[in-house]
Subunit: 333 residues, 2 copies
């Protein structure tokens, strides 16, 4: 568990896109973001107060989050100076970089000397159990996609927010690096050893109050041959009561797999439901979330209306039109 | 890849069952088994020549395989003496023990000094790629089970043997510890990191001659919530042309999951086939393998005959009645 709130380190990010993890924290957990730390030449700006380390400490920040991709895959000397100073000032460090903080001998040595924590969120920090399949109290909803990268994390975060706005109790459960940095907690599922995948999802979504919802961030797709095993572990470890089907209708083929067509939402429903019902016979499909980015507004509204009709389910683009229809559907369960 | 042939180390195994990995090598790859090494008090006997290290070296043995469960989870001082001597004599060591050879400082030091290899087959030795889903030449058959531990490895080994006996070219592809020690090669799939599971199966079953069959050892079950993600990676990484359904009809519930009923063979077929066809649209179910151990011979024959009739597939108990019917079905593909 990463200590919040954060000082968001933007380093020398060339542009806003390079800072998209920090942007995710800013958008979805603004209370976690005390300020931003920008270096000379930084081209990103989250609209947060610029702070140095001392000011951020005074404002209560506990962890410096590296919310930016680093250039050339190395942690530069310029970054190092800030990171070491942050440890010395009493910050923990958290990172979703491919190269790990703990593989940097100087950072490791200073962290050990100061007693501060280094969180590499691509690496599991917990010894997960083997899944036991025992039915847990509380409710769970899982986002499942026709493909990878169709908006499952965004849909999950938007749904969690919409459910809270309706007065429902819910918790977003992160299963990827960005989601973990946004919330400070979660399971980096793609880095978990095979035998413990489903168990890590059970661990992440424990027994809870009967009316509490876990909103579980999906990964991969049952139809994506590279990652379908990860998706399967979410279906069975999460034992969802409800699925939200996620889709991007203009994609020419499965991501990274030019020979594989993207399945229809109906095909996803027809495979995902029997798979989910192995773990939870009461599971239903509660709605559809579509990334309509490539359509003009009228085309998007027409597409969603047609889907609602043909699938008899609420359908929305959570980014463009909000997730309320999905939250409402879950509210009746 | 483990160097063959082997000297099979039975240590002080209390009984035959404790030596079941060694028994597997003896039964399925007799050419790999030069002899057995038994210590004082050993209660197991594979019917192989008893050899000391020098005799086994003279007979060509390259690796000492620890084909036995160790008592109390520790590698005893008595074992150590033999293992160190084996390294000094020029043997590699291979083990499927839970406690790893490389975690023993003395074995590690001697192995480094002598240049011999330590193979812990529960630990991946390869950096597997992410699966790319590209269609590969050659044919593949995968065993899938209604549950874990219903005879998938045994069925795969028996099928491989029956196919060779018919003059077909085939390779047994091990995905678990016992299978890896039997053949000297394979992927310890349950220990692979999630993102690389399907890629490790692609790596294990590469492009081959058009008429060559890989017989892929299945793991887990699509219906076993603890391990279904591992099974899924086999379905999609292996892109099988044919599935053999494996079943144990007298089991009261899924292994280790008292609240989960074992599915019917029809339910397995109806889920496994659409899943497999995502990676290989031409995939078919080629036959059924049943563990009839708990039935008398007439009951077993009646059960299999009924299955053949109701499922319109060849059905056999490969241990009791041979795998020829399954090999014959694949021979027509």
């Amino acid at each position: 568990m990463i200590q919040t709130p954060y000082l968001l380190f933007l380093g020398d990010a060339p542009d806003q896109l390079a800072a998209k993890v920090a942007q995710g924290v800013r958008d979805w957990r603004p209370d976690n973001a005390v300020g931003q730390f920008r270096m000379e030449g930084c081209g990103a700006d989250l609209g947060l107060p610029d702070m140095d380390l001392a000011a951020a400490r005074a404002a209560g920040a506990k962890t410096l989050v590296i919310g930016v991709a680093n250039r050339g895959g190395v942690i530069s000397a310029a970054w190092k100076k800030v990171l070491v100073a942050a440890l010395e000032e009493g910050f923990d460090l958290a990172s979703g970089l491919h190269n790990r903080l703990r593989d940097e001998p100087d950072l490791l040595a200073v962290a050990e000397a100061t007693g501060q924590a280094l969180h590499d969120v691509r690496v599991p920090e917990v010894s997960y159990p083997i899944a036991n399949g025992v039915k847990r109290a509380g409710k769970r909803v899982l986002t499942v996609g026709t493909d990878c990268s169709v908006g499952k994390m965004y849909t999950s975060l938007a749904l969690d927010r919409a459910m809270r706005a309706r007065g429902m109790t819910s918790t977003f459960r992160a299963t990827g690096q960005t989601g973990i940095l946004v919330t400070g907690d979660g399971v980096p599922l793609d880095a978990v050893v095979a035998d413990f995948m489903a168990g890590s999802v059970e661990w992440l979504t424990p027994e809870n109050d009967a009316d509490h919802w876990d909103v579980i961030e999906g990964q991969g797709s049952l139809f994506h041959v590279s990652y379908s095993g990860v998706t399967m572990a979410l279906m069975h470890g999460g034992q969802p009561d409800a699925l939200i089907l996620c889709h991007e209708p203009t994609r020419p083929h499965m991501r990274g797999l030019p020979d594989y067509a993207v399945p229809s939402l109906e095909a996803l429903r027809d495979l995902a439901l029997p798979v989910a019902r192995i773990a939870n016979p009461a599971c239903v499909v509660a709605g559809v979330a579509v990334n309509t980015q490539a359509m003009d507004e009228q085309a998007a509204r027409d597409y969603l209306a047609k889907l609602e009709d043909s699938m008899a389910l609420p359908a929305t683009d959570p980014y463009r039109f909000g997730a309320e229809a999905l939250a409402e559907a879950l509210g009746t369960m």
